[in-house]
């Protein structure tokens, strides 16, 4: 009974926030609604007894990716200077139609398939110890590869988004003739 209420509440919340994230005007509101949708999904993972995944989802998606998106929105604030009257791309109707087709294509087999109606097996548990063992024995190669991938992504993101040195110097240092003034000021220190 409590299980049902938890599921329906979390599912409704997740869908509502996801819809809001994709339709609101202001980008920061979209990012915050998406963070709430991720949190709702974490609740659903917990309800499915996948505790480690639920907490990892909270930590990574809400605690890191949502903050990244918010920072990126703040660093690219062109939209607010000239407010857009039209937030959607020209072909949005086609996109929504294809999305509805995809939805239909996935849900119709779910409703009509006989093999999905079976009862759940005995409670599935994912103890952290077993996850650790699996990571170190069966999945050690993917683990190492993901480590290398994350390092490469981190370094790549920093390099791509880094400001060039010449660009910075041109902005904050005045050109040569005014060299006398800064030296005078430094001698007072």
């Amino acid at each position: 009974m409590l299980n049902e209420i938890a599921f329906y509440l979390a599912a409704a919340m997740t869908l509502a926030f996801a819809l809001a994230a994709m339709t609101l005007r202001h980008l920061v509101h979209c990012a915050l609604c998406a963070a709430a949708a991720f949190a709702g999904l974490a609740v659903i993972y917990l309800q499915l007894h996948a505790e480690f995944v639920g907490f990892a989802q909270l930590m990574v998606y809400v605690g890191a990716i949502a903050i990244l998106i918010v920072f990126a929105v703040l660093l690219t604030r062109g939209e607010e200077i000239r407010p857009d009257s039209n937030q959607s791309s020209p072909s949005w109707m086609t996109g929504v139609a294809v999305a509805i087709l995809v939805l239909g294509g996935i849900t119709i087999p779910v409703f009509t398939s006989p093999s999905l109606q079976r009862l759940p097996p005995a409670a599935a548990v994912a103890p952290v110890k077993i996850i650790g063992q699996e990571l170190m024995t069966r999945y050690v190669l993917p683990l190492e590869l993901v480590g290398v991938l994350l390092t490469a992504a981190l370094l790549g993101a920093v390099v791509i988004a880094m400001r060039e040195e010449s660009e910075v110097k041109r902005q904050i240092r005045p050109p040569a003739p005014e060299r006398a003034e800064p030296e005078e000021a430094t001698s007072l220190r």
């Binding site: 920061v28 915050l32 963070a35 949190a39 505790e51 480690f52 907490f55 990892a56 909270l58 930590m59 809400v62 605690g63 890191a64 949502a66 903050i67 918010v70 920072f71 703040l74 103890p127 952290v128 110890k129 904050i172 240092r173 005045p174 005014e178 003034e181 800064p182 000021a185 430094t186």
Partner: protein
């Protein structure tokens, strides 16, 4: 003394027994929630007045001493003041988010108290991955800081919020890395199991707490430094420093919302102190066999109070760090040291199999040396390679 030790559990069972059988689990949970809120709410009130008096004494003055005997009713006066203040919201602020931000900060932090073991059998929920739950909640509360800063539509607030988030994200890494050797030694993420792994006495008198090992001591210090920064406390309180940014992300909040932010900040401090006591100081265990007659929650409270006093002492003593100093400290000093600490913990664990007579002394020397050398070397390296003087541009 078993009854005194388990008095909260017995009270909860008796009170829940008075309710009809169908709602008993719900009543038990509600009793735990009510108890935690009452205890930590009182703790918050007490900490505010004790902090002001301690700071005052350390600065050679009395703290507040007008309102009650020795000023002990000051929190009541502060509470009444906060409640009757006018709630000013800026005109161009985002009203819904401005309202939600204090709530979004405080609610996840209350959740963090659910996994801490306050005494024998006294943790509200026993989760298989309890410590991960704790860190996940901590990272979820960073968005609330952003909400507060951004919804005020004030440049100072936004700047303060950005700095606060940068600080909190940077110090989350040493916090988690300092806790990992403990998980290694206890081989569990379950907090009551970690407390149980620190039970027993070596040579009959020395408690087996993790703080009494070289990696545990270093980890404890690292954890406390990172915890100070995570709660935005001095010397890491640049986001709310009055001389820097008015009040940072709290600028546009008045009255009860401001009080909620402070509640959230102090509760975060309490939660992370509770975690430090659990991970490194042996949780609710007594330091000596003949002291075990004091109840377990009493020992937890004593260690907890000692750590809170330590935090207040550090606040009174150290000056504030600038933002770039803060971030350099986290990434260039604490993270490498935390990684070295992890290796030292593994070395300690592997050398635990040595059986010859002076093994303990040699292990201590080896592990302490493995820690001290990078510490000194990093400190020297970071001090000498100072960047060039920052270029100032003046208004022409």
């Amino acid at each position: 003394m078993n009854a005194l030790d388990q008095i909260f559990i017995l009270t909860q069972r008796w009170l829940a027994g008075l309710a009809p059988a169908s709602v008993q689990p719900l009543v038990k949970i509600l009793l735990i929630i009510a108890g935690l809120m009452a205890v930590f709410g009182t703790c918050f009130a007490l900490t505010t007045i004790l902090e002001r008096k301690t700071l005052g004494r350390m600065q050679n003055r009395f703290g507040p001493n007008r309102v009650g005997p020795f000023g002990l009713f000051q929190p009541l006066a502060d509470g009444v003041k906060m409640l009757i203040k006018e709630d000013i919201v800026p005109f161009s602020a985002d009203h819904a988010l401005h309202f939600l931000a204090p709530v979004a900060l405080t609610v996840p932090i209350w959740l963090a108290f659910a996994v801490l073991p306050f005494g024998r059998n006294m943790s509200a929920i026993e989760l298989d991955a309890g410590i991960l739950f704790f860190f996940a909640i901590g990272s979820a509360s960073e968005l609330a800081v952003f909400l507060a800063g951004w919804s005020s539509q004030n440049k100072y607030s936004l700047l303060g919020a950005m700095r606060a988030i940068a600080q909190m994200i940077s110090y989350e890494v040493p916090l988690v890395l300092a806790a990992i050797p403990v998980l290694l030694a206890a081989s569990s993420l379950n907090l009551p199991d970690i407390v149980q792994a620190q039970s027993g006495y070596a040579f009959g008198w020395a408690p087996r707490w993790y703080v009494f090992t070289p990696w545990g001591l270093a980890g404890f210090v690292l954890f406390l430094i990172a915890a100070t920064a995570e709660s935005n406390r001095c010397p890491f309180d640049l986001p709310e420093g009055e001389s820097e940014l008015i009040a940072g992300y709290l600028t546009e909040y008045s009255g009860f919302k401001y009080a909620l932010f402070f509640l959230g900040e102090y509760l975060g401090l309490f939660a992370v102190t509770g975690l430090a006591v659990t991970l490194f100081l042996g949780g609710w265990q007594a330091p000596a066999k003949w002291l075990e007659w004091l109840p377990s929650w009493g020992w937890f409270a004593a260690k907890f109070s000692a750590l809170i006093f330590l935090f207040i002492w550090v606040r009174a003593t150290l000056p504030r760090l600038r933002l770039d100093q803060l971030l350099h400290f986290a990434w260039k000093f604490l993270v490498p040291l935390a990684l070295v600490n992890l290796f030292v913990a593994v070395a300690w664990w592997i050398s635990g199999a040595w059986q010859f007579p002076a093994a303990l002394a040699i292990r201590w020397l080896l592990c302490a040396g493995l820690l001290a050398v990078p510490y000194v070397w990093l400190g020297r390296a970071l001090k000498s390679g100072k960047p060039a003087q920052p270029q100032y541009s003046y208004a022409e």
